[in-house]
Amino acid sequence: MRSDRGQSAPLGLKIAAACGLLFLHLPILLIFVYAFTTEEKSFVWPPPGLTTQWFAVTWNRPDVWDALSLSVRVAAISTAIALVLGTLCAAAVSQTRFFGREAISLLVILPIALPGIITGIALRSAFALADIPFSFWTIVLGHATFCVVVVYNNAVARFRRTSGSMIEASMDLGADGFQTFRHVVLPNIATALLAGGMLAFALSFDEVIVTTFTAGQQQTVPIWMLEELIRPRQRPVTNVVAMVVVLVTLLPILFAYYLTRDGDQIAGSGK
Protein backbone atom coordinates (compact mmCIF):
# COMPACT_ATOMS: atom_id res chain seq x y z
CA MET A 1 0.00 0.00 0.00
CA ARG A 2 1.42 3.32 -0.95
CA SER A 3 1.29 5.87 1.77
CA ASP A 4 1.02 8.89 -0.49
CA ARG A 5 -2.38 7.99 -1.93
CA GLY A 6 -4.60 10.04 0.30
CA GLN A 7 -2.24 12.95 0.72
CA SER A 8 -3.33 16.25 -0.73
CA ALA A 9 -1.10 18.87 -2.30
CA PRO A 10 0.00 22.09 -0.62
CA LEU A 11 -2.25 25.01 -1.49
CA GLY A 12 0.50 26.96 -3.23
CA LEU A 13 1.23 24.07 -5.56
CA LYS A 14 -2.46 23.68 -6.37
CA ILE A 15 -2.79 27.35 -7.25
CA ALA A 16 0.40 27.38 -9.33
CA ALA A 17 -0.66 24.28 -11.26
CA ALA A 18 -4.16 25.63 -11.81
CA CYS A 19 -2.85 28.99 -13.03
CA GLY A 20 -0.47 27.21 -15.39
CA LEU A 21 -3.29 25.19 -16.89
CA LEU A 22 -5.49 28.26 -17.24
CA PHE A 23 -2.63 30.06 -19.00
CA LEU A 24 -2.51 27.16 -21.45
CA HIS A 25 -6.23 27.03 -22.15
CA LEU A 26 -7.80 30.48 -21.99
CA PRO A 27 -6.22 31.78 -25.22
CA ILE A 28 -7.61 28.83 -27.17
CA LEU A 29 -11.08 29.31 -25.71
CA LEU A 30 -10.93 32.91 -26.82
CA ILE A 31 -10.78 31.76 -30.44
CA PHE A 32 -14.26 30.28 -30.02
CA VAL A 33 -15.71 33.62 -29.00
CA TYR A 34 -14.08 35.54 -31.80
CA ALA A 35 -15.49 33.16 -34.42
CA PHE A 36 -18.93 34.61 -33.65
CA THR A 37 -18.06 38.28 -33.50
CA THR A 38 -19.78 40.78 -35.78
CA GLU A 39 -16.69 43.01 -35.86
CA GLU A 40 -14.86 42.71 -39.18
CA LYS A 41 -11.94 45.08 -39.00
CA SER A 42 -10.34 44.86 -35.58
CA PHE A 43 -9.88 42.56 -32.60
CA VAL A 44 -12.03 44.64 -30.30
CA TRP A 45 -13.08 43.05 -27.02
CA PRO A 46 -15.78 42.48 -25.90
CA PRO A 47 -17.33 41.62 -29.28
CA PRO A 48 -19.96 44.21 -30.25
CA GLY A 49 -22.38 41.48 -31.32
CA LEU A 50 -22.63 37.79 -32.08
CA THR A 51 -23.46 36.19 -35.43
CA THR A 52 -23.11 32.85 -37.21
CA GLN A 53 -22.96 34.27 -40.72
CA TRP A 54 -19.17 33.75 -41.02
CA PHE A 55 -19.59 29.99 -40.91
CA ALA A 56 -21.62 30.10 -44.12
CA VAL A 57 -19.10 32.47 -45.71
CA THR A 58 -16.23 30.15 -44.81
CA TRP A 59 -18.09 27.06 -45.99
CA ASN A 60 -18.35 28.58 -49.47
CA ARG A 61 -14.68 29.44 -49.78
CA PRO A 62 -12.97 27.00 -52.18
CA ASP A 63 -9.45 28.08 -51.10
CA VAL A 64 -10.15 26.98 -47.54
CA TRP A 65 -11.36 23.58 -48.73
CA ASP A 66 -8.35 23.11 -51.02
CA ALA A 67 -5.95 23.90 -48.21
CA LEU A 68 -7.73 21.53 -45.84
CA SER A 69 -7.71 18.67 -48.30
CA LEU A 70 -4.01 19.16 -49.11
CA SER A 71 -3.10 19.25 -45.42
CA VAL A 72 -4.98 16.06 -44.64
CA ARG A 73 -3.45 14.17 -47.56
CA VAL A 74 0.08 15.33 -46.75
CA ALA A 75 -0.32 14.48 -43.06
CA ALA A 76 -1.75 11.02 -43.78
CA ILE A 77 1.05 9.99 -46.14
CA SER A 78 3.85 11.49 -44.03
CA THR A 79 2.47 9.70 -40.99
CA ALA A 80 2.43 6.39 -42.86
CA ILE A 81 6.05 6.84 -43.94
CA ALA A 82 7.08 7.93 -40.46
CA LEU A 83 5.35 4.92 -38.89
CA VAL A 84 7.29 2.47 -41.03
CA LEU A 85 10.68 4.17 -40.75
CA GLY A 86 10.32 5.07 -37.09
CA THR A 87 9.29 1.58 -36.02
CA LEU A 88 12.09 -0.05 -37.99
CA CYS A 89 14.70 2.27 -36.52
CA ALA A 90 13.32 1.87 -33.01
CA ALA A 91 13.32 -1.92 -33.30
CA ALA A 92 16.86 -1.97 -34.65
CA VAL A 93 18.19 0.36 -31.98
CA SER A 94 16.46 -1.24 -29.02
CA GLN A 95 16.76 -4.92 -29.89
CA THR A 96 20.37 -5.08 -30.97
CA ARG A 97 23.66 -3.48 -30.17
CA PHE A 98 25.84 -2.43 -33.03
CA PHE A 99 28.47 0.09 -33.91
CA GLY A 100 27.00 3.56 -34.40
CA ARG A 101 23.82 2.79 -32.48
CA GLU A 102 24.01 6.02 -30.51
CA ALA A 103 24.60 7.96 -33.71
CA ILE A 104 21.31 6.68 -35.13
CA SER A 105 19.19 8.01 -32.30
CA LEU A 106 20.98 11.33 -32.68
CA LEU A 107 20.39 11.28 -36.44
CA VAL A 108 16.67 10.68 -35.99
CA ILE A 109 16.33 13.45 -33.41
CA LEU A 110 18.34 15.91 -35.50
CA PRO A 111 15.56 17.16 -37.82
CA ILE A 112 13.50 18.23 -34.82
CA ALA A 113 16.40 19.30 -32.62
CA LEU A 114 17.70 21.65 -35.28
CA PRO A 115 15.58 24.73 -35.87
CA GLY A 116 12.94 24.12 -38.54
CA ILE A 117 14.29 26.85 -40.75
CA ILE A 118 17.57 24.96 -41.17
CA THR A 119 15.80 21.75 -42.14
CA GLY A 120 13.68 23.80 -44.50
CA ILE A 121 16.54 25.54 -46.28
CA ALA A 122 18.63 22.36 -46.41
CA LEU A 123 15.80 20.39 -48.01
CA ARG A 124 15.02 23.22 -50.38
CA SER A 125 18.60 23.32 -51.60
CA ALA A 126 18.62 19.51 -51.89
CA PHE A 127 15.51 19.61 -54.07
CA ALA A 128 16.99 22.41 -56.14
CA LEU A 129 20.22 20.46 -56.54
CA ALA A 130 18.40 17.35 -57.73
CA ASP A 131 16.13 19.41 -60.00
CA ILE A 132 13.01 18.20 -58.27
CA PRO A 133 10.16 20.70 -58.82
CA PHE A 134 8.09 21.57 -55.78
CA SER A 135 5.04 19.38 -55.56
CA PHE A 136 2.83 17.44 -53.20
CA TRP A 137 5.67 14.95 -52.72
CA THR A 138 8.29 17.50 -51.73
CA ILE A 139 5.97 18.60 -48.93
CA VAL A 140 5.47 14.98 -47.87
CA LEU A 141 9.21 14.27 -47.83
CA GLY A 142 9.86 17.36 -45.75
CA HIS A 143 7.18 16.38 -43.26
CA ALA A 144 8.22 12.74 -43.06
CA THR A 145 11.76 13.85 -42.18
CA PHE A 146 10.72 15.29 -38.85
CA CYS A 147 7.73 13.00 -38.20
CA VAL A 148 9.98 9.94 -37.90
CA VAL A 149 11.30 11.13 -34.57
CA VAL A 150 7.96 11.15 -32.76
CA VAL A 151 7.12 7.61 -33.84
CA TYR A 152 10.67 6.57 -33.02
CA ASN A 153 10.55 8.07 -29.54
CA ASN A 154 7.25 6.42 -28.70
CA ALA A 155 8.33 3.06 -30.08
CA VAL A 156 11.74 3.11 -28.37
CA ALA A 157 10.11 3.89 -25.03
CA ARG A 158 7.75 0.96 -25.46
CA PHE A 159 10.45 -1.43 -26.65
CA ARG A 160 12.44 -0.53 -23.55
CA ARG A 161 9.54 -1.69 -21.40
CA THR A 162 8.85 -4.80 -23.46
CA SER A 163 10.98 -7.64 -22.24
CA GLY A 164 13.13 -9.32 -24.87
CA SER A 165 12.45 -12.73 -23.35
CA MET A 166 8.92 -12.62 -24.78
CA ILE A 167 10.35 -12.59 -28.27
CA GLU A 168 12.70 -15.42 -27.40
CA ALA A 169 9.83 -17.38 -25.90
CA SER A 170 7.83 -16.89 -29.06
CA MET A 171 10.73 -18.13 -31.15
CA ASP A 172 11.25 -21.09 -28.80
CA LEU A 173 7.62 -22.02 -29.23
CA GLY A 174 8.17 -22.26 -32.94
CA ALA A 175 6.93 -18.98 -34.32
CA ASP A 176 8.94 -17.59 -37.21
CA GLY A 177 10.08 -13.99 -37.35
CA PHE A 178 6.94 -12.72 -39.04
CA GLN A 179 4.61 -14.56 -36.69
CA THR A 180 6.53 -13.22 -33.73
CA PHE A 181 6.21 -9.74 -35.10
CA ARG A 182 2.53 -10.12 -35.85
CA HIS A 183 1.46 -11.84 -32.62
CA VAL A 184 3.98 -10.75 -30.01
CA VAL A 185 5.76 -7.54 -30.98
CA LEU A 186 2.93 -5.71 -32.70
CA PRO A 187 0.31 -6.11 -29.95
CA ASN A 188 2.89 -4.87 -27.48
CA ILE A 189 3.82 -1.75 -29.37
CA ALA A 190 0.45 -1.07 -31.04
CA THR A 191 -0.74 1.63 -28.66
CA ALA A 192 2.66 3.32 -28.70
CA LEU A 193 2.58 3.33 -32.50
CA LEU A 194 -0.94 4.69 -32.50
CA ALA A 195 0.02 7.48 -30.14
CA GLY A 196 3.16 8.19 -32.17
CA GLY A 197 1.17 8.15 -35.38
CA MET A 198 -1.39 10.59 -34.01
CA LEU A 199 1.37 12.89 -32.85
CA ALA A 200 3.07 12.65 -36.23
CA PHE A 201 -0.22 13.46 -37.95
CA ALA A 202 -0.81 16.49 -35.77
CA LEU A 203 2.79 17.62 -36.23
CA SER A 204 2.48 17.41 -39.98
CA PHE A 205 -0.99 18.94 -40.10
CA ASP A 206 0.32 21.88 -38.15
CA GLU A 207 3.79 22.35 -39.62
CA VAL A 208 4.45 25.67 -41.28
CA ILE A 209 8.16 26.47 -41.16
CA VAL A 210 9.53 23.58 -43.21
CA THR A 211 6.46 23.72 -45.45
CA THR A 212 7.16 27.29 -46.54
CA PHE A 213 10.42 26.02 -48.01
CA THR A 214 9.22 22.78 -49.58
CA ALA A 215 5.87 23.87 -51.00
CA GLY A 216 5.52 25.65 -54.29
CA GLN A 217 2.25 27.40 -55.01
CA GLN A 218 0.14 24.98 -53.00
CA GLN A 219 -1.29 26.08 -49.71
CA THR A 220 -1.69 23.84 -46.71
CA VAL A 221 -3.94 25.10 -43.92
CA PRO A 222 -1.01 26.54 -41.91
CA ILE A 223 0.34 28.35 -44.98
CA TRP A 224 -3.12 29.74 -45.63
CA MET A 225 -3.34 30.94 -42.04
CA LEU A 226 0.13 32.46 -42.18
CA GLU A 227 -0.83 34.46 -45.25
CA GLU A 228 -3.87 35.74 -43.40
CA LEU A 229 -1.79 36.61 -40.35
CA ILE A 230 0.74 38.60 -42.32
CA ARG A 231 -1.70 40.23 -44.73
CA PRO A 232 -5.16 40.01 -43.17
CA ARG A 233 -7.79 40.09 -45.87
CA GLN A 234 -10.77 38.58 -44.16
CA ARG A 235 -10.46 38.40 -40.41
CA PRO A 236 -13.84 36.77 -39.76
CA VAL A 237 -13.01 33.85 -42.09
CA THR A 238 -9.66 33.43 -40.34
CA ASN A 239 -11.45 33.35 -37.00
CA VAL A 240 -13.74 30.56 -38.19
CA VAL A 241 -10.90 28.56 -39.77
CA ALA A 242 -8.89 28.89 -36.54
CA MET A 243 -11.81 27.54 -34.54
CA VAL A 244 -12.36 24.64 -36.92
CA VAL A 245 -8.66 23.76 -36.82
CA VAL A 246 -8.78 23.63 -33.02
CA LEU A 247 -11.82 21.37 -33.12
CA VAL A 248 -10.36 19.11 -35.79
CA THR A 249 -7.14 18.54 -33.84
CA LEU A 250 -9.12 17.98 -30.64
CA LEU A 251 -10.78 14.80 -31.90
CA PRO A 252 -7.68 12.67 -32.69
CA ILE A 253 -6.12 13.59 -29.33
CA LEU A 254 -9.19 12.53 -27.42
CA PHE A 255 -9.34 9.38 -29.53
CA ALA A 256 -5.67 8.55 -29.01
CA TYR A 257 -6.07 9.20 -25.33
CA TYR A 258 -9.11 6.93 -25.12
CA LEU A 259 -7.18 4.12 -26.80
CA THR A 260 -3.98 4.39 -24.77
CA ARG A 261 -5.27 5.53 -21.38
CA ASP A 262 -4.99 2.17 -19.56
CA GLY A 263 -1.38 1.65 -20.54
CA ASP A 264 -0.50 5.19 -19.61
CA GLN A 265 -1.99 4.92 -16.20
CA ILE A 266 -0.22 1.68 -15.51
CA ALA A 267 2.98 3.33 -16.65
CA GLY A 268 2.34 6.26 -14.35
CA SER A 269 1.51 4.43 -11.15
CA GLY A 270 3.76 1.41 -11.55
CA LYS A 271 6.95 3.35 -11.04
Partner: protein, 321 residues
Protein backbone atom coordinates in the same frame (compact mmCIF):
# COMPACT_ATOMS: atom_id res chain seq x y z
CA UNK B 1 -6.46 -28.58 -17.36
CA UNK B 2 -4.53 -31.40 -15.73
CA UNK B 3 -0.98 -32.41 -16.35
CA UNK B 4 -2.14 -35.67 -17.87
CA UNK B 5 -4.21 -33.81 -20.43
CA UNK B 6 -1.18 -31.85 -21.50
CA UNK B 7 0.98 -34.92 -21.72
CA UNK B 8 -1.56 -36.90 -23.70
CA UNK B 9 -1.09 -34.48 -26.60
CA UNK B 10 2.64 -33.85 -26.75
CA UNK B 11 4.05 -31.27 -29.13
CA UNK B 12 7.16 -32.26 -31.04
CA UNK B 13 10.20 -30.48 -29.74
CA UNK B 14 11.24 -29.34 -33.19
CA UNK B 15 8.46 -27.93 -35.31
CA UNK B 16 8.61 -28.16 -39.07
CA UNK B 17 9.62 -24.86 -40.69
CA UNK B 18 6.77 -22.87 -42.14
CA UNK B 19 8.34 -23.21 -45.59
CA UNK B 20 7.87 -21.07 -48.68
CA UNK B 21 9.23 -17.62 -49.32
CA UNK B 22 8.18 -16.39 -45.93
CA UNK B 23 9.85 -19.22 -44.10
CA UNK B 24 13.04 -18.83 -46.07
CA UNK B 25 13.11 -15.12 -45.40
CA UNK B 26 12.42 -15.67 -41.74
CA UNK B 27 15.23 -18.21 -41.52
CA UNK B 28 17.57 -15.87 -43.32
CA UNK B 29 16.77 -13.10 -40.83
CA UNK B 30 17.39 -15.48 -37.96
CA UNK B 31 20.69 -16.74 -39.28
CA UNK B 32 21.97 -13.38 -40.37
CA UNK B 33 20.75 -10.77 -37.88
CA UNK B 34 23.11 -8.24 -39.47
CA UNK B 35 21.22 -8.53 -42.73
CA UNK B 36 17.90 -7.89 -40.99
CA UNK B 37 19.45 -4.96 -39.16
CA UNK B 38 20.72 -3.45 -42.39
CA UNK B 39 17.33 -3.89 -43.99
CA UNK B 40 15.60 -2.21 -41.05
CA UNK B 41 17.90 0.76 -40.99
CA UNK B 42 18.53 1.24 -44.70
CA UNK B 43 15.49 3.37 -45.63
CA UNK B 44 15.91 5.80 -42.74
CA UNK B 45 19.65 5.97 -43.17
CA UNK B 46 19.33 6.60 -46.88
CA UNK B 47 16.96 9.48 -46.34
CA UNK B 48 18.19 10.98 -43.06
CA UNK B 49 21.82 10.00 -43.26
CA UNK B 50 22.47 10.76 -46.90
CA UNK B 51 19.89 13.19 -48.27
CA UNK B 52 19.19 15.15 -45.10
CA UNK B 53 22.71 15.27 -43.70
CA UNK B 54 24.03 15.72 -47.22
CA UNK B 55 21.92 18.78 -47.84
CA UNK B 56 22.79 20.13 -44.41
CA UNK B 57 26.45 19.92 -45.32
CA UNK B 58 25.79 21.41 -48.75
CA UNK B 59 24.13 24.32 -46.98
CA UNK B 60 26.99 24.68 -44.54
CA UNK B 61 29.55 24.55 -47.31
CA UNK B 62 27.93 27.61 -48.84
CA UNK B 63 28.74 29.58 -45.72
CA UNK B 64 32.37 29.47 -46.84
CA UNK B 65 31.48 31.27 -50.06
CA UNK B 66 31.02 34.99 -50.18
CA UNK B 67 28.82 37.41 -52.04
CA UNK B 68 30.15 40.09 -54.33
CA UNK B 69 28.72 43.27 -52.91
CA UNK B 70 28.51 45.08 -56.24
CA UNK B 71 27.22 42.45 -58.63
CA UNK B 72 25.31 40.40 -56.01
CA UNK B 73 26.83 37.24 -57.48
CA UNK B 74 28.09 34.44 -55.29
CA UNK B 75 31.84 34.00 -55.33
CA UNK B 76 32.51 30.26 -55.02
CA UNK B 77 35.92 30.46 -53.41
CA UNK B 78 36.78 29.39 -49.91
CA UNK B 79 36.75 32.34 -47.56
CA UNK B 80 35.97 33.12 -43.96
CA UNK B 81 34.76 36.59 -44.85
CA UNK B 82 31.10 35.64 -44.46
CA UNK B 83 31.76 34.41 -40.94
CA UNK B 84 33.53 37.69 -40.31
CA UNK B 85 30.31 39.44 -41.36
CA UNK B 86 28.52 37.67 -38.53
CA UNK B 87 30.56 39.73 -36.10
CA UNK B 88 29.39 43.03 -37.48
CA UNK B 89 27.58 44.94 -34.76
CA UNK B 90 24.15 44.54 -36.38
CA UNK B 91 24.50 40.79 -36.85
CA UNK B 92 26.01 40.20 -33.45
CA UNK B 93 23.03 42.05 -32.02
CA UNK B 94 20.66 39.64 -33.74
CA UNK B 95 22.50 36.63 -32.34
CA UNK B 96 22.68 37.99 -28.80
CA UNK B 97 19.03 39.01 -28.89
CA UNK B 98 17.95 35.55 -30.01
CA UNK B 99 20.06 33.65 -27.52
CA UNK B 100 18.92 35.89 -24.65
CA UNK B 101 15.31 35.38 -25.67
CA UNK B 102 15.78 31.61 -25.91
CA UNK B 103 17.40 31.48 -22.48
CA UNK B 104 14.68 33.60 -20.87
CA UNK B 105 11.93 31.59 -22.54
CA UNK B 106 13.51 28.34 -21.35
CA UNK B 107 13.84 29.63 -17.82
CA UNK B 108 10.26 30.90 -17.69
CA UNK B 109 8.90 27.67 -19.18
CA UNK B 110 10.76 25.62 -16.57
CA UNK B 111 9.37 27.74 -13.74
CA UNK B 112 5.78 27.57 -15.00
CA UNK B 113 6.03 23.91 -16.01
CA UNK B 114 7.37 22.56 -12.72
CA UNK B 115 4.26 22.98 -10.53
CA UNK B 116 2.01 21.55 -13.25
CA UNK B 117 4.32 18.60 -13.84
CA UNK B 118 4.84 17.97 -10.14
CA UNK B 119 1.15 18.08 -9.32
CA UNK B 120 0.35 15.80 -12.23
CA UNK B 121 3.10 13.33 -11.32
CA UNK B 122 2.62 13.12 -7.59
CA UNK B 123 -0.84 14.20 -6.53
CA UNK B 124 -3.14 13.74 -9.48
CA UNK B 125 -4.80 10.32 -9.51
CA UNK B 126 -7.41 8.69 -11.71
CA UNK B 127 -9.73 11.27 -13.20
CA UNK B 128 -7.46 14.19 -12.30
CA UNK B 129 -4.45 12.52 -13.83
CA UNK B 130 -6.39 12.17 -17.07
CA UNK B 131 -7.46 15.79 -16.87
CA UNK B 132 -3.89 16.97 -16.42
CA UNK B 133 -2.66 14.78 -19.22
CA UNK B 134 -5.27 16.13 -21.61
CA UNK B 135 -4.78 19.61 -20.21
CA UNK B 136 -1.21 19.52 -21.45
CA UNK B 137 -1.77 17.52 -24.61
CA UNK B 138 -4.61 19.64 -25.99
CA UNK B 139 -2.64 22.91 -26.10
CA UNK B 140 0.42 21.03 -27.34
CA UNK B 141 -1.49 19.61 -30.27
CA UNK B 142 -3.48 22.71 -31.05
CA UNK B 143 -2.30 24.50 -34.12
CA UNK B 144 0.82 26.61 -33.70
CA UNK B 145 -0.56 29.40 -35.87
CA UNK B 146 -3.93 29.39 -34.13
CA UNK B 147 -2.13 29.85 -30.83
CA UNK B 148 -0.16 32.79 -32.21
CA UNK B 149 -3.37 34.17 -33.65
CA UNK B 150 -5.10 33.88 -30.28
CA UNK B 151 -2.32 35.91 -28.70
CA UNK B 152 -2.59 38.52 -31.39
CA UNK B 153 -6.22 38.87 -30.34
CA UNK B 154 -5.24 39.08 -26.68
CA UNK B 155 -2.32 41.46 -26.95
CA UNK B 156 -3.80 43.85 -29.52
CA UNK B 157 -4.32 47.41 -28.31
CA UNK B 158 -8.10 47.06 -28.43
CA UNK B 159 -7.88 43.43 -27.24
CA UNK B 160 -8.92 41.57 -24.12
CA UNK B 161 -5.83 42.26 -22.00
CA UNK B 162 -6.17 46.02 -22.25
CA UNK B 163 -9.87 45.68 -21.50
CA UNK B 164 -9.19 43.51 -18.45
CA UNK B 165 -6.53 45.84 -17.09
CA UNK B 166 -8.84 48.81 -17.61
CA UNK B 167 -11.55 47.03 -15.61
CA UNK B 168 -9.04 46.39 -12.82
CA UNK B 169 -7.82 50.00 -12.98
CA UNK B 170 -4.34 48.76 -13.76
CA UNK B 171 -3.83 50.45 -17.12
CA UNK B 172 -1.13 52.64 -15.59
CA UNK B 173 0.89 49.47 -14.95
CA UNK B 174 0.66 48.43 -18.60
CA UNK B 175 1.58 51.94 -19.74
CA UNK B 176 4.52 52.05 -17.37
CA UNK B 177 5.75 48.69 -18.65
CA UNK B 178 5.32 49.71 -22.29
CA UNK B 179 7.31 52.89 -21.74
CA UNK B 180 10.35 50.89 -20.60
CA UNK B 181 13.16 51.02 -23.16
CA UNK B 182 13.83 47.46 -24.39
CA UNK B 183 10.78 45.45 -23.42
CA UNK B 184 8.20 48.14 -24.20
CA UNK B 185 6.65 49.48 -27.36
CA UNK B 186 3.47 50.93 -28.78
CA UNK B 187 1.37 48.01 -27.64
CA UNK B 188 2.14 44.56 -26.27
CA UNK B 189 1.65 42.98 -29.69
CA UNK B 190 4.60 44.97 -31.09
CA UNK B 191 6.98 44.58 -28.14
CA UNK B 192 9.54 42.04 -26.98
CA UNK B 193 7.34 41.36 -23.98
CA UNK B 194 4.66 40.14 -26.36
CA UNK B 195 7.17 37.99 -28.27
CA UNK B 196 8.38 36.53 -25.00
CA UNK B 197 4.88 35.70 -23.72
CA UNK B 198 3.95 33.98 -26.97
CA UNK B 199 7.18 31.97 -27.07
CA UNK B 200 6.63 30.77 -23.50
CA UNK B 201 3.01 29.95 -24.22
CA UNK B 202 3.71 28.02 -27.40
CA UNK B 203 6.64 25.94 -26.10
CA UNK B 204 5.43 25.38 -22.53
CA UNK B 205 3.88 21.91 -23.12
CA UNK B 206 7.22 20.71 -24.53
CA UNK B 207 8.70 21.48 -21.14
CA UNK B 208 5.90 20.03 -19.01
CA UNK B 209 5.92 16.56 -20.55
CA UNK B 210 9.58 15.58 -19.98
CA UNK B 211 9.61 17.18 -16.52
CA UNK B 212 6.53 15.18 -15.61
CA UNK B 213 8.12 12.02 -17.00
CA UNK B 214 11.21 12.63 -14.86
CA UNK B 215 9.12 13.34 -11.76
CA UNK B 216 7.01 10.22 -12.27
CA UNK B 217 10.18 8.24 -11.71
CA UNK B 218 10.85 9.86 -8.35
CA UNK B 219 9.42 7.53 -5.72
CA UNK B 220 7.10 9.39 -3.34
CA UNK B 221 8.80 7.89 -0.31
CA UNK B 222 12.04 9.69 -1.22
CA UNK B 223 10.30 12.99 -0.62
CA UNK B 224 8.80 11.62 2.59
CA UNK B 225 12.15 10.33 3.74
CA UNK B 226 13.59 13.76 3.14
CA UNK B 227 10.98 15.44 5.32
CA UNK B 228 11.22 12.67 7.92
CA UNK B 229 14.90 13.49 8.18
CA UNK B 230 13.98 17.04 8.99
CA UNK B 231 14.30 18.86 5.65
CA UNK B 232 12.01 21.81 5.04
CA UNK B 233 9.95 21.70 1.82
CA UNK B 234 12.43 24.15 0.30
CA UNK B 235 15.38 21.93 1.20
CA UNK B 236 13.60 18.85 -0.13
CA UNK B 237 13.00 20.68 -3.38
CA UNK B 238 16.61 21.84 -3.68
CA UNK B 239 18.35 18.65 -2.63
CA UNK B 240 15.98 15.87 -3.69
CA UNK B 241 13.34 16.87 -6.21
CA UNK B 242 15.23 19.36 -8.33
CA UNK B 243 18.33 17.19 -8.97
CA UNK B 244 16.09 14.26 -9.90
CA UNK B 245 13.93 16.41 -12.16
CA UNK B 246 16.92 18.06 -13.79
CA UNK B 247 17.33 15.56 -16.65
CA UNK B 248 13.67 16.17 -17.50
CA UNK B 249 14.12 19.93 -17.39
CA UNK B 250 17.18 19.67 -19.60
CA UNK B 251 15.27 17.45 -22.03
CA UNK B 252 12.46 19.98 -22.14
CA UNK B 253 14.88 22.85 -22.54
CA UNK B 254 16.26 21.21 -25.68
CA UNK B 255 12.87 21.85 -27.24
CA UNK B 256 12.20 25.30 -25.82
CA UNK B 257 15.71 26.52 -26.57
CA UNK B 258 16.03 25.08 -30.04
CA UNK B 259 12.52 26.02 -31.10
CA UNK B 260 13.03 29.61 -29.97
CA UNK B 261 16.41 29.87 -31.69
CA UNK B 262 15.01 28.94 -35.07
CA UNK B 263 11.56 30.45 -35.03
CA UNK B 264 10.93 33.28 -37.45
CA UNK B 265 7.15 33.36 -37.45
CA UNK B 266 6.36 34.43 -33.89
CA UNK B 267 8.67 37.48 -33.86
CA UNK B 268 7.41 38.40 -37.31
CA UNK B 269 3.76 38.42 -36.25
CA UNK B 270 4.10 39.55 -32.64
CA UNK B 271 7.16 41.64 -32.02
CA UNK B 272 9.25 44.59 -33.03
CA UNK B 273 10.98 45.16 -36.33
CA UNK B 274 14.30 44.11 -34.78
CA UNK B 275 15.25 40.73 -36.20
CA UNK B 276 15.85 37.31 -34.67
CA UNK B 277 18.19 34.69 -36.16
CA UNK B 278 15.38 32.90 -37.97
CA UNK B 279 14.14 36.10 -39.56
CA UNK B 280 17.68 37.07 -40.54
CA UNK B 281 18.17 33.70 -42.26
CA UNK B 282 14.82 33.97 -43.98
CA UNK B 283 15.40 37.45 -45.32
CA UNK B 284 19.02 36.76 -46.31
CA UNK B 285 18.14 33.67 -48.33
CA UNK B 286 14.94 35.16 -49.73
CA UNK B 287 14.78 38.82 -50.59
CA UNK B 288 18.47 39.64 -50.09
CA UNK B 289 19.65 36.57 -52.00
CA UNK B 290 22.74 36.35 -49.82
CA UNK B 291 22.82 32.58 -49.35
CA UNK B 292 26.35 32.51 -47.86
CA UNK B 293 25.36 34.85 -45.04
CA UNK B 294 22.10 32.96 -44.51
CA UNK B 295 24.11 29.74 -44.27
CA UNK B 296 26.58 31.33 -41.85
CA UNK B 297 23.64 32.45 -39.73
CA UNK B 298 22.24 28.93 -39.61
CA UNK B 299 25.58 27.68 -38.33
CA UNK B 300 25.06 29.72 -35.16
CA UNK B 301 22.06 27.75 -33.83
CA UNK B 302 23.62 24.49 -35.06
CA UNK B 303 26.76 25.15 -33.04
CA UNK B 304 24.77 26.27 -30.01
CA UNK B 305 22.46 23.24 -30.19
CA UNK B 306 25.44 20.96 -30.78
CA UNK B 307 26.98 22.00 -27.49
CA UNK B 308 23.57 21.91 -25.86
CA UNK B 309 22.79 18.37 -27.01
CA UNK B 310 26.25 17.19 -26.04
CA UNK B 311 25.80 18.62 -22.57
CA UNK B 312 22.27 17.27 -22.34
CA UNK B 313 23.42 13.80 -23.25
CA UNK B 314 26.00 13.88 -20.52
CA UNK B 315 23.29 14.80 -18.04
CA UNK B 316 21.18 11.85 -19.13
CA UNK B 317 18.45 14.00 -20.61
CA UNK B 318 17.74 11.62 -23.47
CA UNK B 319 16.46 8.99 -21.07
CA UNK B 320 13.81 11.46 -19.97
CA UNK B 321 12.51 12.21 -23.44
Amino acid sequence: MTIAAVQSNPTPAILPGSGGMRGALSDLFWRRPKFLLTLMLAPSLLWLGIVYIGSLFALLAQSFFSIDEFSGLINREFTLKTYGDLFQAANLDIILRTVTMAALVTLASAVIAFPIAYYAARYARGRWKALFYLGVMLPLWSSYLVKIYAWKLILAKEGILTWLLAKLNLLWLLDAWLSLPVVGGNSLSVSFTGTFIVFVYVWLPFMILPVQAALERVPGNLVEASSDLGASPGQTFRNVLFPLALPGIVAGSIFTFSLTLGDYIIPQIIGTSRLFIGQAVYSQQGTAGNIPLAAAFTVVPIVIMGFYLWGAKRMGAFDAL
